[in-house]
């Protein structure tokens, strides 16, 4: 279980309160108006943003003081998920070792992950030689080999077309189900949330609310959300 225990996340004059928990293995959308702090919430969980009060736990382990790379968390950002000067293989390899130096079995793992996301034979290409969708697949392959308990998505597929985005989200849902990964994803699009999550965290008015059923939340939105959904 991921637990945010009476957390206050500060970003300049902006403060976000979060007191909630997410069950292990669950897939949860993070929805809410623009600027409400959805990305801020994910950044705090991943360790990129200091929390000014409270603690973050994963399965009784206190993550609050851990550096981002030491947390059991993989995160995909809106952009910049791959190093442009490294090949697809090298980018995936970083998920196993920060230095990217691998043993033979680990190299096999990289190939298997690339194969799993449908990129067999493309490992030697650099990001510039891959399409947007293929770049997303490389990032997902890296997430696969990282073997982290939690996966945070901060709209990494926002730049893709609707069909491709749906395809990527399905792939994420599949991979998360296969590996038992707990998924938190920021979403601007109610359809995305309905598509792959059962529960959703509403971030609005300086608060991240505990997860509620996605369908209920979207069908009977509270005022702040209703205004945003239109």
């Amino acid at each position: 279980m991921l637990k945010l225990d009476t957390c206050t996340i500060s970003n300049g004059a902006f403060h976000l309160q979060a007191d909630l928990s997410v069950d292990a293995g669950n897939s949860v959308a993070v929805i809410g108006p623009s600027g409400a702090g959805k990305s801020t919430l994910l950044e705090a969980i991943a360790g990129f943003r200091e929390i000014s009060a409270g603690s973050i736990y994963w399965q009784q382990q206190d993550l609050t003081k851990l550096a981002p790379g030491k947390r059991p968390i993989a995160m995909l950002f809106q952009d910049g998920n791959l190093f442009p000067h490294l090949t697809a293989e090298q980018n995936v390899a970083l998920g196993l070792h920060p230095s990217g130096k691998l043993s033979h079995t680990e190299q096999d793992q990289v190939q298997a992950a690339l194969e799993r996301v449908g990129l067999a034979g493309m490992g030697a290409r650099k990001p510039a030689e891959l399409s947007g969708g293929q770049q997303s697949r490389v990032a997902l392959a890296r997430v696969l080999v990282q073997h982290r308990d939690l996966l945070l998505l901060d709209e990494p597929f926002a730049a893709l077309g609707p069909a491709l985005k749906a395809e990527m989200l399905d792939l994420v849902a599949e991979l998360a189900a296969e590996t038992g990964t707990t998924l938190l994803m920021v979403s601007h699009d109610p359809q995305d949330a309905r598509r792959i999550t059962r529960q959703a965290i509403l971030v609005a008015d300086g608060r991240a609310h505990p997860p509620a059923e996605t369908e209920d939340l979207l069908d009977n939105p509270p005022p702040a959300l209703r205004q945003y959904l239109g």
Binding site: E50, K65, F83, P98, K126, P127
Partner: protein, 515 residues
């Protein structure tokens, strides 16, 4: 804490900055302690101070005054070869001073091309040695720099403003007063200050074209106090004066100028609607191009015959120069890369200040200080080459940081989070992300450092004994011995080596570099 987590430590950069500060401030302290104030400022010292200021003011004013029409012409004219010409304006930065001087002598000297023509028509030849020769060489070096600085000012005027002015029927003088004069008022003080500061520390130009009691810069007087009289106290006193001058000028230049963007974007011509007078613009562009290209062509033409029968001693000094330039480049990168990384991850006032200390100190002042420090322990001339490499690196550091820091900041901000989430930190981030991402800038900075060191004629003249010499020093010695053929051949070799080193490193950095 999590917020301050950074993918790379700033400790190595802080250590490098401390080393640089120790080198520069330590040598300055050595100079200050040794300076003999009681010794007094002799009349020849006053003359050197006066000459230094006079030539620097004249050089700055003339360079900038000529650069305004040239930059204006370049800003509003499009013609084939325009971007090549603008690129060429950057070349004097890496052009060895001694090479340019040989070229200028070939064109403007007593037995140069112009004198030949004058003599043919019964006039007397030009005398290039003295104040006007020094100023001529400084204008040759700084007219291109001034043109680039001012051209940048013109490029930064939003094109909407020219459009608006055109709509209101402004042209000629009224357009100049409305748009261009305010821009020039903003740019020119900085350009003047930068060139004044550069010319204050002129050594090689004054050494070759000046000299004598009436045309000696302080930098040259330091050298003379060393080599002719071995009067360390006087050298130190002069160094202290020079230090005060350069520090004040560097401070003024930094305050007044906003820094030239190295290279990018200057080859764009602004669209304008006010016709102007194409003939006048063309004349300015042609004159500037001829003034720059003539001495360079002269070096090539007069050097070719000598190039194939260079004395062994010249070839030997060329090898020495390549070694010194390589060592200097390595030292520069070892200092500059950690410093750039440190500044990129968080604001480090100390690192940034020691990065620009090199602008405030002159090579001969640092050289004097090192000489004073080294002499009790070892024979300074035994260390001539390492000292030269070190001082060259310290002098190139401010320029290298100007190139590297923005790239390092960009890399950390674009890739820092991803690296942190993958647990890539410290050395791994440095070698796997920072260096590969910054390769084009590293190549450019290394190329500049290598070319600057290759062409440097400064500290080496203080330290070298007759047995060893870098190529520029060897050329100077050949000139002194009136072996002009060999000197010209050596100058062409030096020109080719400097450009080749710059080109190799700069190209190498951009080779297969992904955006």
């Amino acid at each position: 804490m999590a917020r301050s987590a950074q993918p790379v430590s700033s400790l190595p950069g802080v250590a490098a900055a401390l080393l640089v500060a120790a080198l520069i401030l330590g040598t300055l302290a050595a100079v200050a302690l040794r300076a003999e104030a009681g010794h007094g400022f002799s009349s020849s010292d006053w003359a050197a101070l006066k000459f230094t200021l006079t030539q620097a003011v004249l050089s700055a004013v003339i360079s900038v005054a000529l650069a305004v029409p040239v930059a204006r012409a370049l800003a509003r004219r499009r013609f084939p070869g325009r971007s090549l010409l603008i690129a060429l304006l950057g070349a004097p930065f890496i052009l060895p001073v001694i090479v340019a001087i040989l070229g200028l002598l070939q064109v403007f000297g007593r037995s140069g091309w112009i004198s030949d023509v004058l003599v043919y028509f019964g006039a007397s030849p030009i005398r290039i040695y003295g104040l006007h020769g020094v100023v001529l060489a400084h204008v040759f070096f700084n007219l291109p720099l001034a043109t680039r600085l001012i051209l940048q000012g013109w490029q930064e005027v939003p094109s909407e403003r020219f459009r608006l002015a055109a709509q209101m029927g402004c042209d000629g003088w009224s357009l100049f007063r409305l748009i261009e004069l305010p821009m020039l008022a903003r740019i020119l003080p900085g350009a003047l200050a930068v060139i004044f500061a550069i010319c204050l520390t002129s050594f090689a130009v004054a050494l070759t074209l000046g000299g004598g009691p009436r045309a000696t810069t302080i930098e040259l007087a330091i050298y003379q106090a060393f080599t002719y009289d071995f009067d360390l106290g006087r050298a130190a006193l002069l160094s202290a004066v020079q230090l005060a001058l350069t520090a004040a000028a560097a401070f003024a230049a930094l305050r007044l100028s906003r820094g030239e963007g190295f290279g990018a974007g200057l080859d764009r011509a602004i669209q304008r609607w006010d016709g102007g007078t194409p003939v006048v613009d063309t004349i300015w562009i042609v004159l500037a191009a001829v003034f720059l290209l003539l001495p360079l062509s002269a070096v090539v033409l007069s050097g070719i015959s000598g190039l194939f029968e260079l004395p062994v001693i010249v070839l030997k000094s060329a090898l020495i120069s390549i070694g010194v330039a390589s060592a200097s480049t390595v030292i520069l990168l070892l200092l500059a890369l950690p410093m750039a990384a440190a500044v990129a991850v968080r604001r480090h006032g100390m690192v940034e200040v020691s990065g620009i200390l090199g602008l405030a100190a002159s090579p001969l002042v640092i050289g004097t200080g090192l000489f004073i420090i080294i002499r009790p322990w070892a024979n300074p001339s035994d260390l001539a080459l390492p000292v030269t490499a070190l001082v060259n690196a310290a002098m190139a550091l401010p320029f290298a940081l100007r190139i590297l820091v923005p790239a390092a900041r960009e890399t950390v901000s674009r890739h820092g989070r991803l690296a942190l989430s993958l647990n890539m930190e410290g050395w791994v981030f440095f070698t796997r992300v920072l260096i590969p991402r910054m390769r084009p800038q590293i190549g450019f900075a290394a190329g500049l450092a290598a070319a600057l060191s290759m062409g440097d004629l400064g500290v080496i003249a203080l330290f070298a004994d007759p047995e060893i010499a870098t190529l520029p020093l060897q050329i100077y010695r050949l000139m002194g011995a009136y072996k002009m053929e060999a000197a010209a051949g050596g100058a062409l070799l030096l020109l080719m080596l400097s450009l080749a080193l710059f080109w190799l490193l700069d190209r190498g950095g951009r080779w297969h570099a992904e955006a």
